[in-house]
């Protein structure tokens, strides 16, 4: 079971998730401090460690649109958040898969801050609202990268296999 800690609308851009003025900070260990920097209250709670790992951000369509900056995925992966959105923008979704950030495509999702969700491979169950929503699974080619633990181990296997 996981609690919704932030609810957002449609078209949340990477400039909202990780503002451009922090782009000089690149390392995954350092990016979480700037996650949603302009959502000052949420950012402060995150930095104080008040948001437990596995907590959920719920969003509308086209989450992560805009820049290819990988910081937008790594800053959410650091605190081990889960993103449940109606849909994701392509590059953000791919970055999340590559880094192992949990993303759930759930086109009909209804949830508010404070709601308790149970997330399986096929469904998101909103226990608070007593409603269940279907999940769109990732294509197999994407799932293979997740199953390997992310793109770094996946590529490492290939490098070691000498299949250049």
């Amino acid at each position: 079971m996981a609690k919704v800690v932030l609810k957002l609308g449609d078209d949340i851009s990477t400039d909202i998730i990780y503002p451009g003025r922090y782009m000089a900070t690149v390392l995954p260990g350092e990016t979480p401090q700037y996650a949603f920097a302009d959502h000052t209250e949420f950012n402060a709670r995150l930095k104080k460690g008040e948001i437990p790992p596995g907590s959920v951000i719920v969003a509308g369509k086209n989450f992560g649109c805009g820049s290819s900056r990988e910081q937008a995925a790594s800053c959410l992966k650091g605190p081990d958040l889960v993103i449940v959105a109606k849909h994701f923008a392509r590059i953000f979704l791919q970055n999340s898969i590559n880094l192992g950030l949990r993303t759930v495509i759930c086109p009909e999702i209804e949830a508010d801050e404070g709601d308790e969700l149970e997330i399986t491979a096929e469904k998101v169950i909103n226990k608070t609202k007593g409603k269940t929503f279907d999940v769109i699974p990732l294509p197999k080619a994407r799932q293979a990268i997740i199953d390997a633990g992310g793109l770094i181990p996946y590529t490492r296997q290939r490098v070691l296999a000498g299949k250049k």
Binding site: D11, S13, D15, I16, P19, G20, R21, M23, A24, T25, V26, L27, D38, K61, N62, C65, G66, S67, S68, R69, E70, Q71, A73, H87, A89, R90, I91, Q94, N95, N98, L99, P139, K140, A141, R142, A144, I145, G150, L151, I152, Y154, T155, R156, R158, V159, L160, K164
Partner: protein, 435 residues
Amino acid sequence: MGMTMVEKILARASGQAAVKAGDVVEPKVDLAMSHENAALVLNQFHEIYKGTGLEAKVWDPSKIAIIFDHRVPAESSKTATNQKKVREFIAAQGITKFHDIRGDEGGICHQILPENGYVRPGYVVVGTDSHTTSHGALGAFAFGIGATEMASVWALGSVLNVEVPGTIRVIVSGKFPKHVLPKDLILYLIGKISAEGANFKVIEFHGEAIQKMDTSGRLTICNMSVEAGATSGIVPPDAETLRYLKEVAGVRETGAAFPLSGTSGPDPDAVYDQVIEIDAAALEPQIACPHTVDNVKPVSAVAGTPIQQIVIGSCTNGRLDDIEVAARILKGKKVARGVRMLVFPASGRIFREAMAKGYLTTLMEAGALVANSGCGPCLGVHQGALGDGEVALSTTNRNFKGRMGNPNSEVYLCSPAVAAASALTGVITDPRGER
């Protein structure tokens, strides 16, 4: 079954006779571009090799391009240190397509790649920048990827597990009216199909208005295809593509030497997800209003809106023809008091050409500030952040909340003609009455 442009390119690059949308392929990469975020790429690249006992060497140093543009000259010691690390990596790996912070060969990555002839029709181009879609203007399949994915490309020379995207065919007929520009076309299209209307798809451009458009305009429309969510935009290569490569980029090979043999287009029986027709002659100047790029209105709907900063530049509209349009409108006139007009030529070469033609003098005499080539304030790091409550009108590509460095400001997007006409008045202004 026939293939679209991108299906043809991916079939060639993955060594198959034919592919179709939805297939999973591993295309070989012809060009891999990064900017300052190469600092993160090289960190992830070393991670791949950790514990393997193998030496971390890139697959082909001649196919990697690195251009510093996002924060030039460095705005902070952190950026300067990252740039230094990247220079050391470039030297150690023998990477040759490196464009440092220089007036002779520097500039914005999406201008440097075409003007140096690094992109050819039929190439697979990846870049750690979402606006890598720009290079579809030369008939390449060019798309943005993240830093870890680029690290994987540096190691393997291919992109793993790529799904062949479906394609939207956009046919643009007719002639553009005066002071209606390619930027207006792409803003109109984004407004029509929405910011996710082409998500995971390619936009393939056709029609009379595209055939007559020069490569600069094609770069603008392919550049902003990503703002409709597109994986890439692409214009089938034609005589104009070959002209640009020869005359502007100095490429000596002829069309037959390119992977897609010069000017071959999609198959006549290619299968498209959607076909959209637009009449260029019916367009008026378009404005993307705060805070999403698909919040597009005709200029008449927002004319009169007061602005404090005007920006002409970026990978979208910082080329010579963009600066020329602005100079023609501002010649002998003055930028309105209370408005800061900032101009960023997209490359050192464009800067020098605009200087030689007198455009920069004209703009400066009018009151504009001309700054060094680079991304400038587009991504909100430096060179023109906005104050609380201020409004910018910009020829750049994004107007997301906070984009120009301040979440308490607003950004409207427009063509260089609208930007220049509005500089004279201090409010958003229809340029069609200007010279």
